[in-house]
């Protein structure tokens, strides 16, 4: 009975967190889906999003949810920059080249971040209150983060399916050569896709910073979660990533009710291997 109560208490938390994980994973899976590049700089960009919130809120007094727009814009620009500097030249090379290129960007960001922020933890002392829901306490920051995550997912969906650049992205995803023949400027579309991916990573980091302490190294944990979510939802399927995030969030809520919390990563990554073995396209199907 106590475990059941604990389950009811932890589930809402897991679900809310899952939405934010989903946004982080959407960024990774969008880039993979469009250009077959595993972006290893995803984690440090999440961390940069966290520091964005810290700088805007602590140093400049800007509300984190208003600052989110600026962080999203900067994330988009950073992604476009990374694409042209590190990815564009190796986009047609074997996967190892793009892996190494994005890993290099990862190391550069962590190196600069360590020099500027050190690896000490930072804390954004931001509170949106809380309320009791049954036996659990819902934190305002997590609830708002989940709502923003849903808005971003909806926005991404509308962008991909209702706008011209979004349609170009889907065309490039389906068949780049054919899209080019139809006059789609593929290089610019690829850069835009990479920018959107990094924007989502930065936004998820900015939201996470409102409820967890972080350091410049914190992004790697969320990057790994993004891989698990990507595989659950199907790599290349951004909307599937949101459901993957929910599954992971639920797991993080359910597992501690029955097992020691230290088992959470074991179960998460165990699931990662199992899904890869039995359904490599993910629970919701990969691209195409």
């Amino acid at each position: 009975m106590q475990q059941f109560n604990l389950l009811l208490t932890s589930l809402p938390d897991g679900i809310l967190l899952g939405f934010v994980y989903g946004v982080a994973a959407m960024g990774l899976t969008l880039i993979w889906g469009v250009m077959n590049v595993i972006n290893l700089s995803h984690g440090p960009i999440i961390a940069l999003g966290m520091f964005g919130t810290f700088i805007l809120f602590i140093n400049m007094g800007i509300n984190p949810y208003i600052g989110l727009f600026l962080i999203a814009a900067l994330g988009l620009l950073l992604g476009v920059l990374i694409y042209f500097v590190a990815v564009n030249r190796v986009i047609n090379a074997p996967h190892l080249s793009s892996l190494l290129a994005t890993f290099s960007v990862n190391m550069i960001i962590i190196g600069i971040g360590t020099a500027v922020f050190t690896t000490s933890p930072y804390n954004v002392d931001f509170n949106m209150g809380s309320f009791q829901l049954g036996s659990t306490i819902i934190l305002g920051t997590r609830l708002i983060a989940a709502l923003i995550a849903i808005l971003f997912t909806g926005g991404l969906y509308l962008f991909l399916y209702r706008t011209r650049p979004g349609k170009f992205i889907r065309a490039v995803t389906n068949n780049r050569a054919a899209a080019e023949l139809m006059g789609v400027p593929s290089t610019r579309i690829l850069a835009l896709s990479f920018g959107l991916g990094t924007m989502l990573a930065a936004v998820s980091g900015a939201l996470i910073a409102t409820f967890f302490p972080f350091s410049i190294l914190s992004g790697s944990g969320y990057e790994l979660k993004s891989f698990v979510i990507g595989v659950l939802g199907g790599l290349g399927n951004p909307i599937g990533a949101l459901f993957g995030g929910l599954i992971l969030g639920l797991l993080e809520g359910i597992v501690p009710a029955f097992l020691n919390t230290a088992w959470v990563p074991v179960i998460e990554f165990g699931l990662f291997v199992v899904i890869l073995l039995i359904r490599p396209t993910g629970l919701f199907g990969a691209k195409r």
Binding site: N5, T119, P121, N127, L139, G253, P256, A257, T261, V264
Partner: protein, 451 residues
């Protein structure tokens, strides 16, 4: 074409072998030592330098002390403070003229250090380098029990003396080592003063043991469990968590669901701050919370209200510093500066009040200096014998090492205090001593006010 590539590769291999042979000891440049403390800062608290006997043309000898520090990674915060403390000692003793031995040799000290990135594998690689390539004469441990355990294996294999500080776990001293000497109170004794205090405050308290799944925290919790049982406390929850845990929500729910009134646990800085914040946000409603390490850092106050009432065991606090009078009462030798002189010098040099991690780093140098003075030599075996025979008190506390084969080097004399974050009359967060009763500066905040 293939032949050309093979020839080119062979040429490159020969050239690299030639360069390696010529390079000899050329190695990666070590991390620079922190800049010297301002001269005026060192004046009041300079450790005793032995008086030079009237001998002409004293020979100067530089003793190289090797250690790694965590300039990056999870242990960065406390490790940097430990190194600052050590550097303060080294600057002071060198500026005071070094240590003069009876044969007129003036011993000065130099540090050789690398960034271990809070990574145990790197620690082993770097301590091997410190011993074999940098020819370090003596070693200081890295910060944290996990990294020290890795370094201690290399030190012992190479017969080096290593003063361990920032490392409380007991097990490393129970493996037949002869060259390790621990300055911290062993982990198994970390919470005893807190439990004694709880026995007075609330013998019916229900305990939750929630701790980081690492060597140090596990050793502390395993050490306190029999003591809790012997004192009649009921443990209603025992839970460990991974070192990189960020979301403590499920754990806070577990604590709340267990009916615990007191939390004992934590681990290091990063997880401790996250756990304290979650307990507050979730209104878990504990009467008392004790966390390892994190609340002993001045930065912990940045948490604001979530820090109120959180207690910690501290190896040293200025408000409960050890004194020459205390040493005289106990009949043991006193050595080194007073706690106030040490704190003033540190604050002048680094602009921050010293924590126990700083004091531990300083004490490591101070104890090595005293051992060299007692041995009247820098010979490692003589210094080791001096450390084995040591029984003294410094501002940091008593120092006496276990010399038995079963637990050689384990600290026997040093005692901890319990500190708690409380608000003063001005509403500022201050770390106050709440136990033991003989040295407490205020009464414990019990129960902690509800958020």
């Amino acid at each position: 074409m293939k032949g050309k590539i093979v020839k080119l590769l062979a040429l490159l291999m020969v050239a690299s072998l030639f360069l390696a042979a010529c390079g000899g000891g050329a190695t990666e440049a070590p991390a620079p030592v922190e800049p010297a403390a301002p001269a005026e800062a060192t004046e009041p608290a300079a450790p005793e330098a032995t008086e030079a006997p009237a001998q002409p043309a004293a020979e100067e000898q530089t003793v190289v002390i090797g250690f790694t520090s965590s300039l990056t990674g999870s242990q960065e915060n406390n490790s940097k403070r430990q190194v600052n403390g050590f550097d303060l000692w080294m600057n002071q003793v060198n500026e005071a003229g070094g240590v003069t031995l009876s044969d007129g040799t003036v011993v000065k000290f130099a540090a050789q250090t690398y960034d271990d990135e809070s990574n145990a594998e790197r620690v082993q690689e770097l301590y091997t380098r410190l011993i074999n390539e940098d020819n370090a004469d003596f070693l200081i441990s890295p910060y944290s029990s996990g990294l020290t355990a890795a370094a201690s294996i290399v030190a012992e294999q190479n017969g080096k003396v290593m003063i361990t500080t920032g490392a409380a776990e007991d097990d490393a001293y129970k493996t037949g080592n002869t060259g390790l000497f621990q300055l911290y109170t062993p982990g198994s004794l970390y919470m005893t003063s807190t439990v004694d205090m709880l026995k007075e405050l609330d013998p019916a308290a229900k305990i939750a043991l929630v701790y980081e799944a690492d060597k140090f925290s596990t050793s502390v919790v395993n050490g306190i469990k029999p003591y809790l049982e012997a004192n009649g406390f009921e443990t209603v929850l025992e839970e460990s968590y991974a070192s990189d845990t960020a979301d403590f929500g499920p754990i806070a729910n577990k604590i709340a669901g267990s009916g615990a009134t007191v939390l004992l646990g934590g681990g290091h800085y990063n997880d401790g701050t996250a756990l304290a914040r979650t307990l507050y946000d979730r209104k878990v409603g504990l009467k008392f919370a004790f966390l390892l390490v994190a609340p002993a850092d001045n930065k912990f106050a940045e948490l604001g209200d979530p820090a109120v009432g959180i207690a910690v065991s501290s190896q040293w606090e200025l408000s409960a510093t050890h004194t020459e009078e205390e040493a005289a009462d106990l009949g043991v030798e006193w050595f080194g500066p007073s706690g106030q002189d040490f704190a003033d010098a540190y604050e002048a040099a680094y602009g921050d009040a010293p924590t126990y991690h700083v004091a531990g780093g300083y004490a490591a140098g101070l104890i090595l200096q005293k051992a060299i003075m007692d041995a009247d030599s820098v010979d490692p075996e003589a210094v080791k014998a001096a450390l084995n025979a040591m029984d003294l008190m410094t501002f940091y506390g008593g120092i006496k090492f276990d010399t038995s084969e079963e637990a050689h080097g384990l600290q026997l004399a040093h005692q901890m205090v319990v500190a708690q974050w409380q608000k003063n009359d001005a509403g500022e967060l201050v770390r106050q001593i709440i136990a033991p009763a003989a040295v407490k500066t205020v009464d414990p905040l019990y129960p902690i006010p509800a958020p």
